[in-house]
């Protein structure tokens, strides 16, 4: 029985010279100098740090940050009609919607109903963006805000007023080609 021949699949491995001895010491010295050169080049290049609280990494336009609720620009009515599709789509189950009927005296949204309560628990949210996809009226979109840390979990439950409010534009947007 002949031993199995690997054929053309064999790739010759390039091995370095064996360590030790005078040659090894010489190579180690050379490699040390090469290492010193490498680190010195880093020194010359200068720091690449972004000084975070003062400087910020710009986000891409499709960055999924904190949610925003929208109004119609002309009439000022809320786009959200309280259909709860976002809550149904949410895999983290962090959206709570309680709908109420619009009345002629109290007209909040453009549809028949409106969201009387709209809460997103941001400590649960995984920022998947499914709510944005599920919304039939583009009432909820993902914003660019990513600085949401807080001292208190209950402060991370964002109410409708907070989501509707114009966010403090704290995250710079990446310019085209940047």
């Amino acid at each position: 029985m002949t031993p199995w021949s690997p054929g053309d699949d064999v790739v010759a491995v390039q091995r370095g010279p064996r360590p030790g001895g005078a040659g090894g010491a010489y190579r180690a010295f050379g490699e040390t100098l090469r290492g010193l050169k490498t680190t010195f080049a880093r020194l010359v290049e200068g720091p690449k740090t972004i000084q975070y609280p003062e400087e910020k990494v710009p986000v891409y336009p499709r960055f999924r940050g904190r949610h925003k609720l929208h109004r119609f620009e002309d009439s000022g009515l809320e786009k959200c009609v309280g259909c709860s599709l976002c809550a149904a789509a949410c895999p983290a189950d962090c959206i709570r919607v309680v709908a109420a009927e619009n009345t002629p005296e109290n007209r909040v949204s453009a549809g028949e109903r409106y969201a009387a309560v709209y809460e997103i628990n941001l400590s649960r949210c995984i920022f998947c963006g499914y709510c944005e996809v599920a919304c039939p009226f583009d009432a909820i979109t993902m914003g660019h805000d990513y600085e949401m840390s807080d001292y208190n979990r209950s402060d991370l439950i964002f109410t409708k007023e907070m989501l509707l409010a114009e966010p403090l534009e704290r995250s710079p947007l990446r310019a085209a080609g940047e």
């Binding site: 040390t32 290492g35 010195f40 880093r42 200068g46 720091p47």
Partner: protein, 340 residues
């Protein structure tokens, strides 16, 4: 009473006291500077800024570090040996300071009509003084690790002992070439020789390189920081130390770097000389200090580059490569000195 060593030049006792205070004050000011420079440079070597929050450009960072350490509780493990545990960092600190005494910052100069030597002491044994205190310095590490009563400290101190002993031999042999060429052990005379001829780094290049490598090992700096070896021994000999005692070890390490830089500058890099330029005498101490700081930056550069050696590699490198090379260097120098 037998004379152990002659002293080349000495002044009135009050000048010596004043001198001691001034030298100590100046060199000790370099410690926080080196501390900061090290962290900043290490950062730059890694595309970072390093500390830049405490004070303008982070210059108050060493103050903050020291302040934090000083106000920490002095604790010690129950298994430790109290008095040894307490004096070990003091030994480290004292030996590091004592070696500063022999680093010459200039020759004797005329200050307000008084001849003052700008060095702590100019003994005829010169460089041997440094080695004597280097020999005692390892007790600081050794006793500290041993008295901690912890296995990691113990391992660290054992490594420190073995490493310091093996590299001290090569370090001593490396400078024999310098001593033979200069014909003196006194550091001022060695610098004087370099003033008349060339810096010793030129004729004694091999000796310089051996001294350099051994100096890294002697000061427990990376890549030879096996006594500390944070990754494998937690913190080595100073694992159990905290607060002011740790600060003493920490300062002693950086003081040692400065001292070894000072010795290298004196022995190989011409002390207060600048080739082809003859500055006035008052520039001399500044030249020495600038050279010391620049050379300390080289220590930092190497720290940023090289990984820590394996322990057996360290030992075989010391005994199998460095020691024969140092012996050969001394031998060749001896033959050449005799022939010339």
């Amino acid at each position: 009473m037998s004379v152990l060593a002659e002293v080349g030049y000495y002044e009135a006792w009050w000048i010596q006291l004043l001198k001691a205070v001034v030298i100590f004050a100046v060199v000790f000011q370099l410690v926080p500077i080196i501390l900061l420079v090290e962290r900043k440079l290490l950062g730059r070597f890694q595309h970072r800024y390093g500390p830049n929050r405490v004070g303008p450009f982070g210059i108050l960072q060493p103050m903050a570090d020291i302040g934090k350490l000083v106000f920490k509780e002095q604790f010690r493990p129950r298994t430790s040996i109290g008095w040894l545990f307490a004096i070990a960092p003091a030994i480290s600190m004292m030996t590091a300071c004592a070696t500063v005494a022999i680093i010459p910052f200039s020759d004797t100069v005329d200050i307000f009509g008084t001849q003052v030597g700008l060095y702590g002491i100019d003994t005829s044994i010169g460089i041997l003084f440094a080695f004597a205190f280097g020999g005692i310095a390892f007790y600081g590490l050794m006793l500290g690790g041993w008295a901690s009563g912890s296995k990691y400290s113990f391992l660290g101190s054992m490594r420190a002992a073995a490493q310091l002993i093996s590299y001290e031999v090569s370090q001593g042999l490396a400078i024999i070439g310098v001593v033979m060429q200069a014909g003196s052990l006194s550091l001022t005379e060695i610098v004087g020789w370099q003033e008349d001829n060339v810096w010793f780094i030129v004729p004694q290049l091999v000796g310089f390189l051996i001294f350099l490598v051994a100096a890294f090992a002697e000061t427990n700096r990376p890549p030879f920081d096996l006594a500390e070896a944070d990754a494998e021994l937690v913190g080595g000999y100073n694992t159990e130390y905290g607060g002011g005692r740790f600060a003493a070890y920490f300062a002693a390490e950086y003081l040692n770097v400065l001292v070894v830089s000072g010795l290298t500058v004196t022995l190989f890099l011409g002390g207060w000389n600048i080739p082809f330029v003859d500055p006035p005498t008052w520039v001399d101490p500044i030249v020495v200090i600038v050279k010391i700081v620049l050379f300390s930056c080289f220590f930092i550069w190497v720290r940023a580059t090289l990984p820590r050696l394996r322990y057996d590699q360290l030992m075989s490198f010391g005994w199998k490569i460095l020691l024969p090379l140092a012996t050969l260097n001394a031998l060749v120098t001896a033959i050449l000195v005799v022939i010339w």
